[in-house]
């Protein structure tokens, strides 16, 4: 693969950088990579998502003083472990460190929340909510594409399901 910047030399470094507004993903030769200095996270062969995430934990803007002593009651993971490994310890960690994780998750996934499959045992209500969320997305797409007839039809369907949802509550 040729270097994305000079388009001359063979690329050997994979640069990935996620800022608040955009994601940069480049394959660079050694020469061009030097220009990016400290931004280089990895060399192609050894690219590790973990190091990358650990770096993102460390770059968080939140005041860390309190977080450092915080410990997950289920697995004993501390905030420091996070910034070192970039890995979550258990499902409870997601609640324990919710505040700290929030900006990180926003950087990885945007402002999104889950759409899709729901475990059956968590009950029909969540599934219904998921369906409404998905239909709202489709509705927005129809509006953008100026497909007003389909949009109106979908809007009525959502209203129906929402009624059903509130009755179930």
């Amino acid at each position: 693969m040729l270097c994305d910047d000079c388009k001359k030399n063979q690329a050997c470094v994979h640069l990935t950088q996620i800022t608040n507004t955009q994601k940069i993903d480049k394959h660079l030769c050694e020469e061009c990579a030097k220009k990016y200095g400290e931004l280089i996270f990895n060399v192609d062969q050894k690219f590790s998502v973990d190091d990358f995430l650990a770096g993102m934990f460390n770059n968080g803007s939140i005041d860390n003083s309190q977080m450092k002593v915080m410990t997950c009651p289920n697995c004993g993971m501390t905030y420091r472990d996070f910034s070192r490994t970039g890995k979550i310890g258990c499902n409870v960690c997601y609640t324990t460190f919710a505040k700290k994780l929030e900006p990180l998750l926003r950087r990885i996934h945007g402002a999104s929340s889950h759409i899709g499959k729901v475990p059956k045992r968590s009950g029909g209500q969540i599934e219904l909510k998921q369906r409404i969320k998905q239909m709202r997305n489709t509705l927005a797409n129809h509006v953008t594409n100026e497909e007003y007839e389909q949009a109106a039809k979908l809007r009525d369907e959502i209203k129906e399901i929402e009624k059903e949802f509130h009755e179930g509550e």
């Binding site: 993903d25 890995k87 499902n91 996934h109 899709g116 499959k117």
Partner: protein, 357 residues
């Protein structure tokens, strides 16, 4: 396929050259990441917790068999030889990550090799389903069925907003990674591949080489997969990927046609020369073999070479790999030169048996 056959048979049924658009799409795969509530993720779990996960999963095998109508075998990674572990990686049945800490790691494989469940990889469960050709829908359906069966027995970690909780936050949400393995010599030779890769990245897709994350491109084989798991449903994810793959496929077909139309003599000389080298070489490296095989395969697809069946390419993709060759010879101490010699012999034999001339 029995356990013994799994390591010595080159062809897996999900890479046998059958299926939709299989001249360009080698295989489609879907992976679901799942974790059990309260038990720490594998990187944080102790031995007792890891073996509890193993036990919990092994107990479900009869239910899995009933739900899917297939039989399964469970293998402890630490009970396999180093070569056997690497053969499973070369065959894409498990990740290279899964053999780093072999203790308390399992792989559960269906008899047809289309399903493999890694236990205690990065997540407690990594459910993988694979088919030959382009059919992500079929793989997703299979994976969901297995997921349903497991979820009926085990408490799977999930929240309404974040979806399925995973060890690495990049997999949160659906926990779904769908990927398609494509053979794209036309785009490489016409130097369009970078354009395609950039466009794919902008669509939220990742493009990698034959062996996943960070691996170099060999044999003009690329893996295209989704990167985003939160905010998109499973169906949307595979629909997006499928439409990108169809688009890439159109460009690949056009590129091959253009290449051949523009310089038929150069193209047919190139593919026949590659065939000649493969057929008569006495020593050959793995990367050279794959590069030449890619050209021969393109020659078959372009109807230049008639006497070799296309699936020879799929077969040699696996059987020309170093660990597979060594395992076949029952010798993990072959020198690189000796492996190159064995590889050349193997390719000569396959081409001799496979061709009709």
């Amino acid at each position: 396929m029995s356990q013994a056959e799994l390591f010595i048979k080159p062809l897996t049924s999900w890479m046998d050259g059958s299926g939709i658009d299989s001249d360009i799409v080698l295989s489609s795969r879907v992976r679901l990441a799942r974790n059990i509530c309260q038990i720490p993720f594998p990187n944080r779990a102790n031995i007792a917790q890891l073996s509890k996960v193993e036990e919990n999963v092994e107990e479900i095998i009869p239910e899995l068999a009933e739900a899917t109508g297939k039989t399964y075998q469970s293998m402890s990674i630490d009970k396999l030889s180093t070569l056997e572990r690497n053969v499973l990686v070369e065959k894409h049945m498990i990740s290279s990550n899964h053999i780093m800490n072999p203790e308390n790691r399992l792989v559960i494989v269906s008899e047809d090799d289309k399903i493999s469940i890694m236990v205690n990889e990065e997540d407690h469960l990594r459910i993988q389903c694979m088919v030959s050709g382009l059919d992500l829908g079929a793989t997703l359906e299979m994976a969901s069925k297995i997921d349903d069966t497991i979820e009926a027995k085990l408490d799977i970690a999930f929240t309404e907003d974040m979806g399925y909780l995973t060890s690495c936050p990049t997999n949160l949400g659906t926990g779904l990674r769908a990927s398609v393995m494509m053979h794209l010599p036309g785009l490489v030779f016409t130097r369009q591949i970078n354009k395609i890769m950039n466009a794919s990245t902008q669509l939220g897709l990742a493009v990698r080489g034959l062996y996943g994350e960070g691996s170099e491109v060999i044999g003009n084989i690329f893996q295209i997969s989704n990167q985003l798991t939160l905010g998109f449903s499973e169906q949307e994810t595979i629909d997006n990927l499928t439409s990108a793959v169809l688009e890439i496929m159109t460009h690949e077909r056009a590129a091959r046609k253009a290449l051949y139309a523009q310089s038929p003599d150069v193209v047919s000389d190139k593919v026949w020369r590659s065939y000649g080298v493969l057929k008569y070489a006495r020593t050959i490296t793995g990367n050279e073999a794959l590069a030449l095989l890619s050209e021969v395969r393109m020659g078959i697809d372009l109807n230049i070479i008639h006497n070799v069946p296309a699936k020879v390419f799929n077969e040699l993709l696996v059987s020309s790999r170093g660990n597979y060759l060594q395992n076949l010879k029952d010798n993990g101490n072959l020198s690189p030169n000796e492996i190159d010699r064995q590889r050349a012999a193997m390719i000569r034999e396959v081409l001799m048996n496979g061709s009709n001339d």
